[in-house]
Amino acid sequence: MQLQYTEKQQAFRQEIREWLATNLPEKPLLTLEGEEGYHQHVAWERKLAEGNWGMVTWPQQYGGRGLDLIEWLIFEEEYWGAGSPLRVNQNGIFLLGPTIMEYGTDEQRERFLTPMAAGEKIWAQAWSEPGAGSDMAAIKTTAIRDGDHYVINGQKTWSSRASFADWGFGLFRTEDGSERHRGLSFVLFDLNTPGVTRRPIRQLHGNPGFAELFFDDVRVPVANRLAGEGEGWKVAMATAGFERGLMLRSPGRFQAAAKRLVELFRRHESDAAPSAREAVAKAWMDTQAYAYNTYTVAANIMAGGSIGAEASLNKIFWSELDRSMHRTAMQLLGAAAELQHFADRSANDWLEGYIFSLSGPIYAGSNEVQRNITAERLLGMPRVGKG
């Protein structure tokens, strides 16, 4: 254990800090859940890529910098500390990217990772179906082999970014009549393929942040399948591990929110409830605890370890922490909390953030599912019973 950054790490921190100071948009971007804001965020991804900041941990040949996870954390700390925009390509760079790195062929890495890091292709996820939410193994959408193509029929839903994105990835039933987690394959598809219909869904805040996807004889090359036919569940679990584990929510984002909450509290101190004071101090403590934990996980992975079921603990912790911080802010704001200014993100970030924080305990595997995983796989409690 050694809690000083090396000179190289400090120089790297300085480099990203300076780049952000020069290149950050002058005005906050519109929300990425709406069409105009989406395109602003795509432009920002491309700007990041020009600076070679798309995904610093990836090998240089795919547009990365070949850096380690501690440097990635430093990048994230500076990124969120500077108030930078949300990453519209998060599904790609943090979830699909590491999965392709692990399971893709060289050809697939070349074909998908480079444009992903460059911000040229924005990715949507396509996991859930109307009958397969928390119970993802209930997937029904089929991808039936026809020569060197799969023909996809069915429906996906709650597909983040799919209203505007370029490509999607998800699980499809490639073995007709198979059940549960058998017979599924992990397939990448162009959202503009004939037969794909997108129906944007208005989210709680009114913007079309996700969409339903309808597949009607959609032909996708077999070369777009990651790993073997029927191995989709295993690949998806790895992706979910990345999602719940290290990368989906880096601590910097929450630490930045905690800092803003402290500042908000200072402005409202005279009429704040005593409980708010405690909640604000707790926000700092919990975001720090989350950061320490992430540094441990990163060091563990660098030492050859991996993320297992403990990723569920992470997901429960950050999602409920985020909700609690934003609730505290809403309560501090009082009558001002209800005022909406979604056209100008800076005006009521807390309201938008609170609304978004309500989705955290639901997506990426609901927290109830995470608590079951924690109890059964980490604590070894019995899997019998449904009650």
């Binding site: 254990m1 603990l313 924690t374 109890a375 409690m381 899997r383 019973g385 009650g387």
Partner: protein
């Protein structure tokens, strides 16, 4: 930057854990409770493992290790609900005496001959002291009155609070383990109660609290070792995280045990009572919350993502 506890440090803690789980189980606690609370043979085995000398510098016959190592061992002492005054003499007094430049007693501490105990004004008592006896809720704690000349040194308080936090984490882990084990064997409605989601989710919450208390404890130990201006803040953070986890674990464990948990027969009460005692010791929750508050809301501690390790 490397926020990972080296595996060789964990090996010693694991050896201590194995020793305690073999030789210091609940039967020993019940025997001590029925007799007179302390047993020289237990102290002797602790001495044979070299634990009293863990933090004593090598030139005084100790192992010369650091606070992170001591925190790992103190956690095991909590897990085993050890009654002997190892933590406060070897992991609180030794580094404090050393910091004061008072090294005359250190070699006798390392050999286990003497075991001085801290006397600090933040506590209204001394544990394993010589004064008039006081009754603790914890049947295995020997409390006595605090002398008038007790210290009010903040460094001693920080060391005491850090090591109480470490024991609290171990106590909370042990109570979680006991609850999980009980939930597997107790059957109702035709199945182990641990199969019910209401029970699973309750214990999963304890696992979450502990997962995010442990790194705070490591952080505090390293902070007190490196001694930056923010060390007190990190110790207070650890004390809050550890005592909150311990209360949560105790309350969840008793609930999972049902009426059995409310008896003196079930082992759980030894751990739960130690947790209550140590949660209040070395600065109440309010004391530590105020220190965090003063630094974060009212003070000039650097906060935000760029200052994770400030």
């Amino acid at each position: 930057m490397d926020f990972l506890i080296a595996s060789e440090r964990l090996e010693l803690a694991e050896a201590v854990r194995n020793f305690f789980s073999g030789k210091h189980g609940p039967d020993v606690l019940r025997r001590l409770d029925a007799q007179d609370n302390r047993d020289p043979t237990i102290w002797q085995s602790v001495v044979e493992m070299g634990l009293p000398g863990l933090l004593v510098p090598e030139e005084h016959g100790g192992l010369g290790m650091g606070l992170v190592d001591a925190v790992l061992i103190a956690r095991e002492c909590g897990r085993a609900c050890l009654a002997e005054p190892l933590v406060e003499s070897a992991f609180v007094m030794v580094p404090w005496l050393n910091a004061q430049g008072e090294q005359s007693e250190l070699s006798a501490i390392a050999t286990g001959e003497t075991r001085p105990v801290p006397q600090h004004k933040v506590n209204g008592w001394v544990a394993d002291g010589d004064g008039a006896a006081l009754d603790s809720v914890d049947p295995l704690r020997n409390l006595s009155a605090l002398p008038d000349n007790a210290s009010d040194d903040p460094h001693l308080l920080n060391l005491g609070a850090l090591m109480a936090s470490a024991q609290l984490v171990g106590l909370a882990e042990a109570m979680l383990d006991q609850a999980v084990e009980y939930s597997k064997i107790r059957e109702q409605f035709g199945q182990p109660v641990g199969g019910f989601q209401a029970i699973k989710h309750k214990l999963a919450d304890v696992a979450v609290a502990l997962e995010f208390a442990r790194p705070v404890l490591w952080r505090a130990a390293q902070a007190l070792e490196d001694d930056p201006a923010s060390a007190s803040l990190h110790v207070s953070h650890a004390k809050i995280a550890a005592s909150d986890s311990a209360y949560l674990s105790g309350e969840s464990a008793i609930q999972v045990h049902g009426a059995m948990g409310y008896t003196y027969e079930v082992d759980l009460h030894f751990w739960m009572k130690r947790a209550w005692a140590l949660s209040g010791a070395w600065g109440s929750r309010g004391f530590h919350a105020r220190r965090v508050d003063d630094a974060i809301i009212g003070g000039d501690q650097m906060i935000g993502p760029q200052h994770t390790f400030a």
